[in-house]
Amino acid sequence: MTDHLLEVRDLSICFHSRGRTVKAVNGVNWHLDRGETLAILGESGSGKSVSASAVMGIIDMPPGEIVSGSITFDGQDLLNLPPHKRQKINGRRIAMIFQDTLAALNPVYSIGRQISESMAVHGKSPSEARARAIELLERVGIAEPERRFHDYPHQFSGGQRQRVMIAAAIAMEPDVLIADEPTSALDVTVQAGILKLLKKLQAETGMSILIITHDLGVAAEVADRVVVMNQGEVVEQGGVSDVLNRPQHSYTKRLLAAVPGRHGYTRTETERGEILLEVENLSKHYGITKGFMKVATGRAIRALDEVSLTLAKGEVLGIVGESGSGKSTLVNTLLGLTSPTSGDVRFRGQSMLSENQREMRALRRQVQVVFQDPTASLNPRMSVARIISEPWAIHRDVLPRSQWRDRVAELLEQVGLPAACATRYPHQFSGGQRQRIAIARALALQPEVIICDEAVSALDVSIQAQVIELLKDLKRQHGLSYLFVAHDLPVVRDFADRTIVMQNGKIVESGRTEDVFERPQHIYTQNLLASRPEEEKLRSEVMEPAR
């Protein structure tokens, strides 16, 4: 037989739902050797998580059904193992960490207890478990582990929680660590830290890592070998540099071509057009109150601190920053959802912060928004036609009701959806299509500025590329300007003419995109850019000429 540590052979898994059978994975083969890192790469719906879930035995059956194939771990057939034997393998020899750390940790127990719990289950005395837990916390880079042992999950940041999860996972020194999108919810600088930690632990313990990800950059950074999956099938596998630099399969090629940040910079005209949107010294402070009576302490959190920027006609202004940098507060203030503490926002020289409701409505019409999560930003109980025509229902003077239908069809076609979609409901569309609907709604009032608040962050790379293309087309056709807010640097690098970098509510750097990315001045920008070294390498090898 083979001497692979973990081997999945010819695995097919079906899910039965709505009276239909969907093949989640179909004849999948992969293997993992001792001490190596394998990345399973794929977009949503590719079945990349399913085979790993089968390894852990956490697929719900029904609706799931393993149709054929075998999973062998260290010579044992996992699929035919009695439950009590399997329990001994799960957690002890194969451990798993997840994307959503807040959901995976129990909020009512201290993290120390949760880490020692897994050790107690596998037979260690409480004092031993406690000592070991503290040691583990130290090893995964949690400062003052003795003190933090008794803290609860909500007292940690996302990156720290992932470190705690890793500590719990490696508590029993497993042979295999399965990481399902371990860094997708984290900021780039934090992600870099976690990936480094995984590599370090691997070097120390010699465990194998199976990392499931949609992010080529992550795969390039940590993996020795890559398995590329598409629609439930493995389309390509091999050494990481072979696959990513010399892809054989057409899907891998397409996936790589869709990765943003490799197309050179948008050429910026030296002459900037007329200034549309002007933000001047905008600040938003949240006062910190104390005690039951909510007495103001005099201290304040500066969510926005003296932010100034301008947006010219036909321009794309990228705003990058990690969570907590004040991006969202800026967007909400521009949309009039929160009122600023001080400062001004002007559209064509007219202040948008006036009290006069009627004037405001006319001005606000010119600035529309596309939100991050298209599932949440569309009312699930409204048909697409009603969603897109809602702006006209609110701004009565724009379009007479008799023309709504035709205009909805027109808008849908503009964003690349068939006009027949109008009668359907949001849940019947994929994420990318829903974002197109949201864009159609934003276009309905024919605005001059569209604010994209992480508008492509929730989408797969190939879909992301399509939506960005759409935004570019619309910009050409309608002379739109975009305020493009994102945490994802490569997308901004591709799309924006100028870029602003924010940290802790302040603008730390701004300038032409090329200058910011190639010659970053501020230390924070340099850090941010340095967080993805592998991706940078990947980029230089496959760099295409600027378009």
């Binding site: 709505r18 529309q368 939100f371 009312n379 109980r381 609110i394 701004h395 409901y425």
Partner: protein, 284 residues
Amino acid sequence: MMLWRDKFAFSSALFLIIVTFAALFGPSVLPDSALNMNLMARNAPPFELERGWMYVLGSDNLGRSLLARLVIGARYTLMIAASAVLLALVAGTILGLISGYAGGRLGNVILRAADIVMSFPSLLLALIVLFVLSPQVSNVVLVLALSRMPIYLRTCRAEVLEIRERQFVNAARALGATHSRMVFLHILPNALPTLMTLATLEFAAVMLAESSLSFLGLGVQAPAVTWGLMVADGRGYLASAWWVSFWPGLAISLTAISANLMANWLRTAMDPAQRWRLEGDRKS
């Protein structure tokens, strides 16, 4: 037809239609037989046809036909339960929307008032109110609605607080939507399914609450009759004549279950993301 596919919902609908018919036309079809005493047939057992088909379900301690009394009783029972539930639902929802959406001082005042009503024993409240006012049907409805309203208010407020923070409400706000538009087009339709389900559950509870009021002599006054009152009447004969309480009890349960199943079906049918479940398996 979507209703036919769900057999449970279909039979529920059928039962509710029968009960509604009984409530509407029963009193004019059987004007007297519910009140006519027949001391020869006191506590007659059910399923004996020698006394005529009116006595098929047996009779009560005064020899009145249970079948006729069930039919007549349907009117007041349904009327009281339906109007109390409806009143509580509407008032509770409106106050819940206000306290959830507007918040602030007004929202807090509404909430505290609801807490006071909730913490006060509802039966005691009903006793006091009905003692001061006269025990009429309209007052019974009022008291029942008042004591049940906080449940809707709390539920509605919780739903509003959650839905208000969803992105599509923000999207509407960014478009410049008015408050009424956001409340009635975006928030209410998403909160309604929960409230409707709650209302049907409450339907049974209100029927029983009405019966305890009637039992204490503060509810519906004889000769008018409700199912709850009939259950109370038969209480003393449970050992010797179970049917006196059983049939009205069964009627209450069946009505409540039917209402619940109907609500379940409605909720599914109204939800665009769930509707396919009722449309059968379409090949795609």
